[in-house]
């Protein structure tokens, strides 16, 4: 029998469900309009022209990333392959965060703001136009949560047979 969660550890499963739900939501927003998401991926230009066999890598990303977020979020919430799911979500989140930061340095994305952190543009995250500093802060919080709640070995589960 595993040790029961105690103290501040008590809400960890609940927090994990909430974290998983956030990623399911992000994935769903992208999944419901695949072409819009493909265009967002294309606008970053980092996968432009790359192919895997006959398939443009942008198509693979537009098809695969939303599913990975939905499945990853569900697995994280359910505690199944939790660390593997969290690792993928963290990898993609870190990559997209770097891309959002890189794109925010381009003044043409929002000519009204000179400071990169105040610029607003559609990051392709499924939530429409975002202000850079808010998006980066949100992603930092999510990344930290993924590491603490998803990637870190769970002491209670380690005690399980």
């Amino acid at each position: 029998m595993s040790a029961r969660p105690t103290g501040w550890n008590l809400p960890r499963p609940l927090l994990r469900v909430a974290l998983g739900a956030v990623f399911v939501g992000y994935g769903w927003l992208k999944f419901h309009d695949p072409y819009a998401y493909l265009k967002s991926v294309h606008e970053y230009g980092v996968l432009d022209g790359l192919k895997l066999g006959s398939m443009p890598v942008e198509n693979l990303a537009a098809i695969g990333v939303p599913a990975l977020e939905i499945i990853g979020g569900l697995l994280l919430a359910l505690g199944i392959w939790r660390r593997g799911a969290a690792a993928w979500l963290a990898l993609f989140l870190a990559a997209f965060t770097a891309m959002v930061f890189w794109r925010s340095l381009d003044p043409t994305v929002d000519p009204e703001h000179a400071q990169w952190w105040l610029r607003a543009f559609d990051c392709g995250c499924g939530t429409g136009k975002v202000i850079v500093w808010q998006k980066l802060t949100m992603n930092a919080v999510l990344l930290t949560a993924l590491v603490l709640l998803g990637l870190r070995r769970d002491p209670e589960l380690q005690a399980a047979p």
Partner: protein
Amino acid sequence: MIPPRSLPLQMLAVAATALALAFAANSLHPQGLESSRDYFAKPQHSFQTVTMEEFTDFVTYLEDEAGDIVYLDARRSGQYQTGHVPGSWNVPRNDPAALEAALGALQVAAYVVIYCQGGHCEDSIFLAEDLVYRHGIDFSIVHIFEPGWEAWQKQGGAERAGADR
């Protein structure tokens, strides 16, 4: 606990599951992507184009007299909501309902001017082809504003936010 327990194997299992379900869901999705199609290959077109100067004149005319010119914004609805040419209709790709809504105005228009984001965007060309070859709009009235929204915004063109139509 469901095996595997090691992190690399778990990642492999998650990736395999997600990819299998991704392609299954994509094939069932009404707007699913064709996996091997290059959506961003710049299509050649023979539609008439309008310059920035002409576009500016047209917009002024549209604002003043709301006449026979129909503007179509082929960008995503989120981009349209953020800002668009005043009076333009939003007809994103893969949105037949939006196209249906604009058809009445298109059928009595003397000029149709279509724009998308600019740069490498090609949605205005796809929309123009749709209008002419699927909906019988006269080829000679369809025009494409190739510089697109970004160029229009950079030169301080008129814009409006929210749902115009």
